[in-house]
Amino acid sequence: MSLINSAPEMALTTTVDDFLNWTRKSSVWYMMFGLACCAIEMMQTGGPRSDLDRFGMAPRATPRVSDLIIVSGTLTLKMALRTKVLYDQMPDPKYVVSMGSCANCGGLFQLAYSVCDGVDKVIPVDVYVPGCPPRPEALTEGLVKLQEKIQQERWIVRKDAPGTATGASVTS
C-alpha cells in the first residue's frame, strides 16, 4: 500500500496551541534590518552555507508581512525612533532578536552621544545574541532558541487560568 493511498486514513492528534505554534515557528519571516557590520553576518547566515531557509525563514523587505525583526548593528538614537515605527507596523505575533553587542547594550559605542544603548530601550527583545559580531552559528542558535520560545506560546488557553504556562496576548 503506497503512502499516498494511506494518507486519507491517517489522523494526527495535537492541541490547537501546539499546532499553531508549530506552523508559526516553521515559517518565521524576518525583516531585513541591517544597521551595521552585524548585517554582513546576518546575510551570511541567510546564505547557502548557514542557510536559514531550512528553518522556513525568509527575508522580507517590509515589516507588514514580517514575524521577526533581527536588529543587527549599532542603533543610533535617530534610528531608534524609526525602529519603533517599523516594529509597530509588524502584525502580531511578532518577535525581536537583538543581534550583537551594539543592539544588546550599545557595545563599543555605548558612551557615544548619538547611540541608543540597547534596542530593548525601545522595543521588547525576545532573544539576545552576544558577539561582535556573532558568527552565523551563533545567530542560528539564537533563532533556534526563538523557535523553542514560539513553541511554548499559549494562545487559546487563558493566561490567568490555573495551571497554564505563561503566554503572549490572549483574547477571552
Binding site: 535617530k78 552621544y113 548619538s114 544603548d117
Partner: protein
C-alpha cells in the same frame, strides 16, 4: 607638470591676497597650511581652483576644530590637485560664540555636505550655503555634539541615553 613646493603656493597666495593670508606653517608637501581671513576665503578658493599652475580641483576634506580656551572654532580645508599632484591646507578662524564663515559650495559643489556636517557637529554657520540643514544628527537634536562643552541630554524622546553597568561595584 611637477608639484609646486608649499612655499611657492604660499608665495603666490601672499602676492595676490596680501594681508588676508597668514604665515606659512609647515614646509613639507603634506603638512603646509596657512590661515585665511574669513572674508577672503571664497575668493582665495576660487583663485586656487582656477589659477593655471595651482589648479586645486579637489577639496579632499573640510572639517572643523573647537578651541574653547582660545574661544575659537577653526574650519580646515584640505586641498589637493589631481592635475598637479600637490596639496595645501587652509584654515579659517571663527568666533566661537557666533561662528559665521562664507560657504565655498559655489567653488567645489561637494563642499555642500561637508559644510553641513561641520554645521551639524560644531554649529558653524556657513553664509550663502544652498541648503544648511543637519546631516547626521536628528533635526531636533539639542546643541552641537563635537563642541568641547557639549553635555549629552539625559534622554531623547523618552529614551534614556545611559545604561547601568551589570558589574556591581564591590
Amino acid at each position: 607638470m611637477a608639484p609646486l613646493p608649499a612655499a611657492d603656493i604660499h608665495a603666490r597666495l601672499k602676492s595676490r591676497f596680501g594681508e588676508s593670508i597668514g604665515e606659512l606653517i609647515g614646509n613639507r608637501r603634506d603638512n603646509a597650511s596657512a590661515t585665511v581671513a574669513p572674508a577672503a576665503i571664497v575668493e582665495v578658493c576660487r583663485f586656487l581652483k582656477g589659477e593655471p599652475g595651482l589648479e586645486f580641483d579637489c577639496l579632499s576634506n573640510l572639517s572643523g576644530v573647537d578651541y574653547p580656551k582660545r574661544s575659537l572654532i577653526e574650519v580646515v580645508y584640505n586641498l589637493y590637485s589631481y592635475r598637479q599632484r600637490h596639496l595645501f591646507t587652509l584654515k579659517v578662524g571663527a568666533q566661537r560664540d557666533d561662528p559665521v564663515v562664507p560657504s565655498v559650495a559655489s567653488v567645489w559643489s561637494h563642499a555642500d555636505w561637508a559644510e553641513r556636517e561641520v554645521f551639524d557637529l560644531l554649529g558653524v554657520v556657513f553664509a550663502h550655503h544652498p541648503d544648511l540643514r543637519r546631516i547626521l544628527m536628528p533635526e531636533d537634536w539639542p546643541g552641537h555634539p563635537l563642541r568641547k562643552d557639549f553635555v549629552e541630554p539625559e534622554e531623547y524622546h523618552g529614551i534614556s541615553t545611559s545604561r547601568e553597568s551589570l558589574l556591581k561595584a564591590t
